[in-house]
Symmetry: C2
Subunit: 361 residues, 2 copies
C-alpha cells in the first residue's frame, strides 16, 4: 500500500513501530507460545508485563509515589459518572469548568451523583475561547474542580494548569495526555481514554492521589470503587489485557523518542506549521479558535467556501490523507496531531492544502 | 516454536485462524491503509463491520428480532451491578440462584441496587452440585431471576434451561456462550465477558429483550443505561473496537465450523474424553463434581496425592500443555475446553496424564 497519514480524532493513529511489534508478537508473545490475548491476567508473564508498563508510565510522567495508577475500562464517559461517585459524598457539590463538548458531557453525566456547579463556561462563545481564570466562580467547599485541558471537538487547549487552591483538580486528559511534560502533583485526579495518545480504545488510564480514594462512603458495587481497583492493582476483574499491552508498547516507544519533553517539542512544531499554513492562506482556510487557546492536538479548520468541502475530503483521501472530516459541531475539517502523527504527515497535509487552494482557486 | 495447547480459564485460547487473520490485517485493515485499531468507530468502514458482526451473531444464535445485541465494556463483574440498576426499580427484589463463585459475586455486587433474595444455593455442597430446581424459592414478584449456567471455577453446568415462569431469566454465560445451541427466547437477558468463547478481554456481549430496557426509572448516568446503548447501536461512547473486530472474526470462524450445533457436538466429545480419562484412572485423578452437573467447559481435577501437583504442572508445561493450574478454591488442576481448544489438545492432555501416572506411580 502507499503511504497513508491518519488524522483521526480517535481511535487514532498508533506509532508504526508499536503496530509492527504487536504484529510480530501476535501469535507468540514473550516466548509463551500463545498470544498476549490468550494469557491469564493472573499469570506470571502478564503480571510482570503489567508492572513494567506502570513503571514506564511513572517514569515518563514522573508520577509521585502518593499517586495510584489505574488501568480501567468504560471510556472517559463512564468515569464522568464514576468520579463523582468516588470523590464526592452524598450532598456534596463539585465545580465544573465547561470549555467544550466533553466538559459539558462530563457535567451532565455527573449530575445524578453530585450537585454540579458550573463554575465557568465558554458556551456563549461557542467554546471557541477559554473562560478566563478570573471569571471562574469556584466554591472552596467543592469536592473537586473538573475541567478538560484539551477539547477534541472544539480544538481549544489550556497552556497552563489553572491554580484552584486546595480543592482537588480533576482533569480529563483523553486527548492530550503524554503530549508534553506534566506536573502531576498539581492534580488530584487525571484520567484519559486510551484511544488518542496511548493505545486502542476500551482502556482508561487514571492517575489519582491516594488520599482521595477513600473519600466516598456511599453504597455502591465494589467494581465501581477506585479504592478497590487500586488495592487489586487494576485486576479486581479481568482487565483489557490487549489494551494494557499496547499501552506498554507505546510507553516504550515514547521513552525511545526522548520522552514527553521531546514529544512536547515535536507537537508544538507540528501545530505551529499547520496553523501557519491556515493563517497564511489569505483566508482560504480558517481556524475559528482564539489564538491564545488553540489546541496542539486537534486543529479544526474550514474552507472559505463550504461547497468545496466534499471535494477537499475526496481529494485528500485519494492523496493518502485519512479522516480529515470535521465534527458536525464546527463543520469543515479537523486534523488531529497526536503523538503518533509525525511532522511528515503535517508536511503532506500542508502541501496538499496549498495545492488544493491553487487548483480550486 | 513447538505446539502449545492452552487450557487457560480466561483470557483463553483463540482460534488459530482468527489470530492469523488478525496478524495479517494488523497494519492494513480492509484496504484502509491503517490498522483496525486506528479507525474511527463512526467511520463507514467500522460501522459496516460492526453491523456485520451483529448479523453474524444473530444468525449463529438465531436471536429473535425483539432482542437487542449490545457490545459493552467493564467485564461481567460491572454488569453484576448494572443489571439490577437497569432491570429493577427502587425497592424491587430479585432472585439469585447461587451455584458457584461467580453467582455469589453477582449477588454481592447487585446488593446495593436491589433487594437480593438468594432463592437457592449450593454453597453447603461447596458448589460441587447444582441446587435442584424443586428447591428454588422463587418469588413471582421478583424483578428477575439470575443464575450462572456454567461456573468457571467450580466446573458445574446446567444442561437444561430452568423453567421460572414469567419472571425474566438473566444468565451470566461468560464461560459457555456459543458452546452449543441456545434458545434465546427462554431468557430475558444473557451476558458474557468475551475472554472465554468470543475474543479478547475488555468486551462484554449482551443479548436483552427490548421490553426490559425501559424498566428502571431511577436516576443514573446515561452511560449506565442499557436503553441508551441500544438506541446508539453500542456507540454511545467509543466502544472497544479491537474486541468487537476480534469477536467478528471468531463469529466468522464459528460459521465456517458449522455453527453452534457443530461446536456443541465437539465440546461434548472433548469433555467426555477428559472425564473418561479421569474416571478411568483408578483414582489417580479425580473430578469432585456431581456427574450430572459436570461442566463441558471447565474440568477441575485433583491428583491422588497433592504432593505431586508441582511436578504435574512443571512437566505438563514442558510438554506444551499451558495453564493447567487449578483455582485455589478447589486446588489441583483445571482444564478449560472452550470452543477454540480442539480435540487434539484433549488427546495430548489425556496422553500426558496417562504417562505421568505411569511414571510417578
Amino acid at each position: 500500500m502507499s503511504q497513508v497519514w491518519n488524522f483521526s480524532a480517535g481511535p487514532a493513529a498508533l506509532p508504526p513501530p508499536v503496530l509492527e511489534r504487536a504484529q510480530r508478537e501476535l501469535l507468540d508473545w514473550n516466548g509463551s507460545g500463545a498470544s498476549v490475548m490468550e494469557q491469564s491476567h493472573r499469570g506470571k508473564r502478564f503480571i510482570a508485563m503489567a508492572e513494567r508498563v506502570e513503571a514506564d508510565l511513572r517514569e515518563l510522567l514522573a508520577i509521585p509515589a502518593d499517586y495510584a495508577v489505574l488501568f480501567l475500562q468504560g471510556g472517559a464517559t463512564q468515569h464522568f459518572a464514576q468520579i463523582p461517585m468516588n470523590l464526592a459524598g452524598e450532598g456534596d457539590s463539585a465545580d465544573y469548568v465547561v470549555n467544550g463538548h466533553w466538559g459539558a458531557k462530563a457535567a451532565g453525566e455527573a449530575a445524578p451523583y453530585v450537585r454540579v456547579n458550573v463554575a465557568a463556561s465558554s458556551q456563549a462563545d461557542n467554546y471557541l475561547r477559554l473562560p478566563p481564570r478570573e471569571s471562574w466562580q469556584l466554591d472552596p467547599r467543592a469536592a473537586y474542580v473538573h475541567y478538560t485541558p484539551n477539547e477534541t471537538i472544539h480544538g481549544v487547549e489550556y497552556h497552563d494548569v489553572p491554580v484552584v487552591g486546595d480543592v482537588p483538580l480533576v482533569a480529563d486528559m483523553s486527548s492530550n495526555i503524554l503530549s508534553e511534560p506534566l506536573d502531576v502533583s498539581r492534580f488530584g485526579l487525571i484520567y484519559a481514554g486510551a484511544q488518542k495518545n496511548i493505545g486502542p480504545s476500551g482502556l482508561v488510564l487514571m492517575i489519582v492521589r491516594r488520599d482521595l480514594l477513600e473519600r466516598s462512603s456511599r453504597p455502591m458495587a465494589r467494581i465501581f470503587r477506585y479504592a478497590e481497583h487500586a488495592a487489586a492493582a487494576s485486576m479486581l476483574n479481568t482487565p483489557n489485557t490487549w489494551g494494557w499491552y499496547l499501552a506498554g508498547l507505546t510507553f516504550e516507544w515514547l521513552k525511545e523518542q526522548g520522552g514527553v519533553a521531546a514529544m512536547g517539542e515535536r507537537n508544538r512544531a507540528k501545530a505551529e506549521k499547520l496553523y501557519a499554513a491556515i493563517d497564511g492562506s489569505g483566508g482560504y482556510y480558517r481556524n475559528p479558535v482564539d489564538p491564545a487557546a488553540r489546541s496542539r492536538m486537534n486543529v479544526p479548520f474550514t474552507l472559505h467556501d463550504s461547497a468545496l468541502d466534499a471535494d477537499f475530503l475526496k481529494e485528500s483521501e485519494a492523496a493518502g490523507l485519512m479522516a480529515l472530516k470535521g465534527h458536525k459541531a464546527l463543520g469543515g475539517m479537523r486534523a488531529s496531531l497526536y503523538n503518533a502523527v509525525p511532522l511528515a504527515a503535517v508536511d503532506a497535509l500542508v502541501a496538499f492544502m496549498g495545492d488544493f487552494a491553487r487548483r480550486h482557486g
